[in-house]
Subunit: 303 residues, 2 copies
């Protein structure tokens, strides 16, 4: 196994100006693993309830996702998120969060996954992210996400985590919140001093910035005429990014940039339909075509 | 003469979290012409009052800016804008606007400037922008800017203008306001149906998007650790862009992309200091070095 993804496998009820879906497959690990599955072998570490549908399980298995780390709680129900987007599609208003089986989630990494070289710790309580890391025998690359709630409520645990993470993938507002500095580049450099070698700043419809000690890389988001549902865009990005890295095993700067574009490709497809509909039905041809689209979108010559 | 810039030559009182400047040289034509002056011959069409300082006039002349179209109103005072930026530096709060000599501005293009091939009509009453165009004998490229006020108050005049403009350079919020469509790409295509062959969407710290009927080009803004004063960034961008186009006379897609990067270079330098301080003191070496910086910031290889 090349990549382990810790995260949620959830049912989402989502309303956007373009429609509504009830109890549709979602969750950070779902989006991340599906996106990564086009590039590498991936396993999910997470928990579901008895209500987890066979058809959703089969969807993941069809994408060759290893579900041996996805435990099912008897009598439990899947994590459920309900949210709504306005016309700008930039920020979701959370209407309801039912933790359900997540409330007592204790991550146990199956024996055969402990030597996995690539790890993505999706947004979750930093204690659970650390507990996962503690069970691994020295992964080559650890990437992690977090959110405003943990920055506010579990700053200590989050800083402990950051000391052990190679790549932090968080959104722009969180970069500012974590450091108290509005200037993104300065804030990014401060975060690097907390441990990570690399920061990837997610900026929604404006794309991402990769910040290291000695370089910055800017990738735009792919301009689309129709965005139906931004849910999961960040996790699809992360999945395409780390999945591509894990798949080719190259950590040179050029490979990191390509992986960031691949993450952006996956995020751009994901928002074209509700839930995992688009992400689950891509061809490698479509993926490569959009990668070339990113080249056409950004390239310009020397003077 | 290669380029004519219609716009304001003004004094600004600006406060940012990093300092305050009183009655500092500003105005759309000032920023645009200074930025363009590094690449081409440029003339200003505008108006000042008797309070216009000799030292500011000399600054423009040192940059070989033709001021024969800059009339001085006896007893009048220069346009004055007072604004303040918060820590995000994204949006200025206008505290005061004194139109002064602008109130009765009637643009008269000097005879020797009427055959100018490149024109930038900075944000101004569409009637004045049109009156300027009416005096020109068929410019090769007309680019224009506008603002929310004219979209709201003089929509008819603005649409008349757009039918005669090749390149519209406006900010993201104005694209949405002008079309009533939140989706930037769709809104952009609608604006192209009003007349322009090309739309350049300014997105502040996120850079710009160039939209034509059959392509999109995304350029990031240059990430800076210290932004002191964003005033004039949009006009510096426009000046670098149209100045570079005018300077090399090439309108191929590749040249347009390079010009957009050059506009971004000039905007990035401009915000590094108050007023025109940085823009007025650049070397061609610095400009080329930052152009290469944009290449390093954005390049990634084929798969």
């Amino acid at each position: 196994m090349r990549l382990l993804v810790l995260g949620t496998v959830a049912y989402d009820t989502v309303k956007t100006p373009f429609g509504r879906r009830e109890q549709a497959l979602g969750g950070s690990a779902t989006y991340c693993a599906l996106a990564a599955s086009y590039f590498t072998e991936v396993a999910i570490l997470g928990v579901v309830g008895e209500d987890f549908n066979d058809s959703d399980r089969e969807l993941l298995i069809r994408h060759k996702v290893d579900l041996s780390g996805l435990s099912t709680i008897a009598g439990g129900r899947c994590f459920h998120w309900q949210g709504e987007y306005g016309f700008d599609l930039n920020t979701a208003v959370t209407l309801r969060t039912d933790l359900n089986v997540l409330e007592s989630f204790d991550p146990i990494v199956p024996e055969h996954l402990r030597e996995v070289p690539y790890v993505f710790l999706a947004n979750m309580d930093p204690e659970i992210q650390i507990k996962t890391l503690d069970q691994l025998t020295g992964p080559k690359v650890v990437a992690a996400d977090t959110m405003n709630y943990w920055i506010e409520q579990k700053r200590g645990g989050l800083l402990d985590l950051l000391a052990r993470v190679h790549i932090l993938v968080i959104n722009e507002a969180e970069v500012r919140q974590l450091t108290g500095d509005y200037n993104l580049l300065r804030a990014g450099h401060r975060i690097l001093s907390y441990g990570p070698k690399m920061l990837i700043v997610k900026r929604g419809e404006y794309g991402v910035l990769k910040i290291t000690d000695d370089s910055v890389f800017a990738a735009p988001a792919y301009p689309l005429e129709s965005v139906f549902d931004p849910t999961g865009a960040g996790d699809s990005f992360a999945g395409g990014f780390i999945g591509h890295l894990a798949g080719n095993g190259n950590l040179q700067p050029e490979a990191l940039r390509q992986a960031i574009i691949m993450g952006s490709v996956m995020a751009s497809y994901n928002v074209e339909d509700f839930s995992t509909a688009r992400l689950a039905s891509l061809s490698r041809q479509e993926i490569d075509e959009r990668y070339r689209g990113f080249r056409r979108l950004t390239e310009f010559g020397d003077l």
